[in-house]
């Protein structure tokens, strides 16, 4: 083989495509790349819409304005939008807390359900008799604390036995989901969550004392939970940037051996942070049922999953999460609004379009880190 080395390499050709690492892009270029990605996805959406016989421009107009244009009750659109946006914002911020610590909490769905369920139960017990502010506070705290403990199952197991938190939180989602289905379908004397007047098992509407208060601005009702969500976001921003606990969780996320080395109690930090994360998600669940005035087996609206996507797209940056969750909510709510207008488009088209957009944004993420070089003038070694 040695002596023929010079002859055996004669047919080697340079490769057509090469991938080369590049430095970070400037912010302006980065924004441009993402806008391009969204446009690309919308063009694909255009083709799909056109093939279904829908005018894509009308559809997009309706979608991007969340159905406000040409609506007799435009404030209703804003209210619906806020109802979707508030839980997504809280859940995304809460998840980013755990993610920063590299604790992959994909149990947002389950924690949200637990928060909603416990809040619903509390409202069923005391909603009729107790004063409204007390009902609301107990519902929120009860739901949040219950969810906090529910989330802690995974973190405690991880700290004590080194279990995988992704699997654990994922499995706990199904337990919570089947639990709420069980309560929703079991007609029994003890089940105070169901409507007594109905023969079929359906969740009952909450007493008025358990309704999330609103601030009336003309005919538009501003849900208080939106304001609280913004306050929580601001608090978490400060928590991460300024406090000792926020500092600790960044160190643990960055290098757990360094955290140990510095004398931090890493187990406690993990359990504490995951508790806060799940606590906030449970709070969002309580807020949501209090806003919707009733429980439902589809109470989460996939917020636990969407929150993961929002947190990732925002690179766990709290301010970016506000913007991203607002945009994703426009996409989701706008799409359902637009789909209602066009008979041939199912509301599931929103999910499809969202999937395409996320896919192209994530693909562009690759382009921000790597350069693809296409070599058309390929050199050959000598024949």
């Amino acid at each position: 083989m040695n002596k023929t080395a010079a002859n055996t390499h004669s047919h080697v050709k340079e490769p057509l495509i090469r991938i080369v690492k590049r430095d970070g892009l400037k912010l302006s270029k980065l924004v441009l790349v993402y806008v391009g990605a969204i446009l690309l996805a919308m063009i694909i959406g255009c083709i799909l819409l056109a093939s279904m016989g829908v005018n894509p421009f009308k559809f997009y107009e309706k979608m991007l304005t969340i159905g406000v244009v040409g609506n007799a009750f435009p404030y209703k659109c804003f209210e619906g939008y806020i109802k979707l946006f508030t839980p997504l914002l809280i859940v995304s911020v809460a998840l980013s807390l755990a993610f920063r610590m590299k604790f992959w909490n994909v149990g947002g769905e389950g924690q949200f359900i637990v928060g909603a369920l416990v809040a619903g139960w509390i409202s069923a017990i005391i909603g009729e008799s107790a004063p409204s502010f007390l009902v609301l506070i107990l519902m929120s705290l009860g739901g949040a604390i219950a969810a906090g403990f529910y989330g802690s199952i995974a973190s405690v197991l991880k700290v004590k036995f080194g279990t995988n938190e992704t699997l654990m939180t994922l499995m706990l989602n199904y337990i919570a989901l089947y639990l709420i289905m069980f309560f929703g379908e079991t007609k029994a004397d003890w089940n105070i969550l169901l409507n007594e007047d109905s023969a079929r098992p359906i969740f009952k509407t909450f007493f008025e004392n358990a309704w999330m208060p609103v601030i009336k601005i003309g005919s538009f009702s501003l849900n208080i939970s939106l304001i609280i969500a913004f306050v929580i976001t601001a608090l978490i921003f400060v928590y991460l940037k300024k406090t000792k606990q926020g500092y600790e969780l960044s160190v643990v996320g960055d290098s757990i051996s360094t955290a140990n080395y510095a004398g931090m109690k890493t187990g406690r930090i993990i359990i504490r942070t995951v508790f806060i994360s799940a606590f906030l998600i449970g709070l969002a669940g309580a807020f949501y049922v209090s806003t919707a005035h009733s429980l439902s087996t589809s109470v989460t609206n996939d917020v636990g999953w969407t929150g993961v996507i929002v947190a990732w797209l925002s690179k766990l940056n709290t301010l970016a999460i506000v913007v991203t969750s607002a945009l994703i909510s426009i996409l989701r709510y706008g799409c359902t609004q637009a789909a209602a207008e066009f008979a041939s488009v199912d509301s599931h088209f929103a999910d499809l379009l969202q999937g395409i957009i996320l896919f192209s944004v994530l693909a562009c993420d690759f382009l921000t880190r790597f350069k693809v070089i296409i070599n058309l003038k390929r050199r050959k070694s000598h024949e």
Binding site: T8, K242, T243, Q245, S250, S257, Y261, A262
Partner: protein, 528 residues
């Protein structure tokens, strides 16, 4: 086949992002010579060689083998051209035998694994003058056996151009000597060899010519016979450098840290440190020598309270600190810095800024719930200034700094906490000459202040020059503690492999003026 060079590189360029790793490099390897490729860390030696082995592709430039231009798109191409590379970090399957590791990449081995492969490979090995047990599992091999296997592997694949990337970094003096005689024999057989190293005495010993790189640029190629270490250093660093390391003289002080009969387990629960005795006085540097992974890490972690101790005592200023939390040990004035192979693993949080890293051990000292970053900024600015850390700002994440600056940040923080015992492992790992000497100066300055220093090192020349005493570990046991000015590299090498053991001759590691019973006895200061 009349070409002068077995392999020739012309105008090679390679960049990673905005970092140019190789700038317009042209180097030739003559047939049947040993060429040393010399350069500091980050000068682009490994990048250049990885382009020969098909791992990277040059952005521009040409490669000639036997005078013909070739393209190397993959390791396969490289193998076909007769180029074999022995990487610094071995590329072996731990759970496979020696023979199977070679078989893995060999061509025309057939569908089934036959017993005859062991014999085939042993025969081939003895033809080259190696002795190996072809059925031995890699996981049971010593470092030098693994390296032999790597060399055998490339020979078996028919390589006649052999590249060795820092092959001596993990070997003892005796093993290096053996390796060099193997290389000389290979050269006589007509192989052409490139050896990457930054140890000058080895360059002088083994090579015919030396090619020098500096910061990704080609500087010069000189005949080894016509040069000396001082000239090579100047070529490598770009300026004159005093290669002497100072051993500061201090007055003898009381033992600060005494280790008595210490046994510590590793992560696999096997004994890593085995009934070890030693002590460090104030104003003294105790060196620790040993082959990689013979208990250094476990010892450091045990002292810092990061690893449970099986038995024995760790006495700091007369107090047993076993069972104390890492936090309490830090507060007592024991600082531990360990530079692992990835250089960022323990001691620093890579994604956090210099400021945040300065606060790592004292963020909790301020009152209230907020982190005091004003203090952190002051610390960071001081360390940046005093140790001349090169960084865009104090807010820069540590992982973006170069290796030397990362290590300066780490040591700077440790020293700024005013410790009385410094445990430092591999503080100059991967650093260039300038930065290394800056670190030695820092340690010597601490020594003058009366700090007791435990210096775990890998370069015996440095240990010999810098330390007062050297303790040699072999498989977790202390083979002996010797005075640095009385011992030799050969003696240390023998102790590192366990061939020389002073345990039978005399007791060591227990101070005459030990403070261990100071509290239980009269309570007064013992007489020096």
């Amino acid at each position: 086949m009349a070409a002068e060079y077995a392999i020739e590189l012309k105008n090679i360029n390679k960049s990673f992002g905005s970092v140019a790793a190789n700038k317009n490099i042209s180097i030739g390897l003559r047939r049947g010579e040993i060429l040393a490729l010399l350069g500091e860390n980050g000068s682009g030696k490994t990048t250049l060689m990885n382009m020969l082995s098909g791992i990277y592709k040059p952005d521009s430039g040409s490669i000639f083998v036997d005078g013909e231009e070739v393209l190397i798109n993959s390791p396969e191409d490289s193998k076909r051209l007769g180029i074999g590379m022995v990487h610094q970090h071995f590329k072996l399957v731990e759970k496979f035998s020696a023979a199977d590791n070679i078989w893995l990449g060999a061509e025309k081995t057939g569908l089934f694994l036959k017993k005859s492969r062991y014999k085939k490979i042993e025969e081939m090995a003895s033809r080259f003058g190696f002795e190996i047990d072809a059925s031995k599992l890699v996981s049971n091999m010593s470092v030098s056996e693994k390296q032999t296997l790597e060399i055998l592997k490339v020979l078996y694949y028919g390589a006649n151009i052999i590249i060795l990337d820092e092959p001596t970094a993990v070997l003892t003096v005796q093993e290096i000597r053996k390796l060099f005689s193997v290389l000389r024999k290979m050269k006589e057989d007509g192989h052409s060899i490139i050896i990457i190293t930054h140890k000058l005495d080895e360059v002088m010993d083994i090579s015919d010519r030396v090619a020098v790189l500096r910061k990704g640029e080609y500087i010069d190629t000189v005949n080894t016979a016509d040069t000396n270490q001082q000239q090579l250093t100047e070529l490598m660093v770009g300026k004159k450098i005093d290669l002497n390391i100072e051993r500061v003289k201090t007055e003898k002080k009381l033992p600060l840290l005494e280790i008595r009969d210490l046994t510590v387990n590793n992560d696999e629960n096997a004994v890593a440190i085995d009934h070890v005795n030693f002590y460090i006085r104030g104003g003294e540097i105790l060196g620790v020598a040993g082959i990689a992974g013979c208990g250094q890490k476990e010892l450091c972690e045990a002292i810092a309270g990061l690893r449970p101790v099986q038995s024995g005592m760790i006495i700091h200023e007369g107090e047993n600190i076993i069972g104390w939390t890492p936090k309490k040990i830090i507060e007592k004035g024991i600082s531990m810095s360990f530079i692992p192979e990835d250089r960022l693993g323990m001691g620093l949080a890579p994604s956090l800024s210099i400021i945040d890293n300065m606060l790592l051990k004292k963020y909790n000292d301020s009152k209230g719930i907020f982190v005091d970053r004003v203090q952190g900024k002051a610390d960071a600015d001081r360390v940046i200034k005093e140790l001349s850390v090169v960084t865009p700002s104090a807010n820069t994440p540590v992982r973006l700094l170069s290796g030397g600056n990362v290590q300066k940040v780490l040591l700077g923080r440790e020293i700024s906490s005013g410790p009385n015992v410094i445990v430092t492992a591999y503080p100059v790992r991967g650093l260039d000459i300038n930065s290394s000497y800056a670190i030695y100066d820092i340690l010597n300055a601490e020594k003058r202040k009366g700090t007791g220093i435990l210096f775990v090192g890998e370069d015996l020349d440095v240990l010999l020059a810098l330390c007062d005493k050297i303790m040699v570990l072999c498989h977790g046991k202390v083979m002996g503690i010797v005075h640095a000015h009385k011992t030799t590299k050969e003696e240390l090498g023998l102790m590192m492999t366990g061939a020389l053991d002073y345990n039978d001759e005399k007791a060591f590691g227990i101070a005459k003026d030990s403070r261990i019973n100071e509290k239980t006895e009269a309570g007064g200061e013992p007489n020096e």
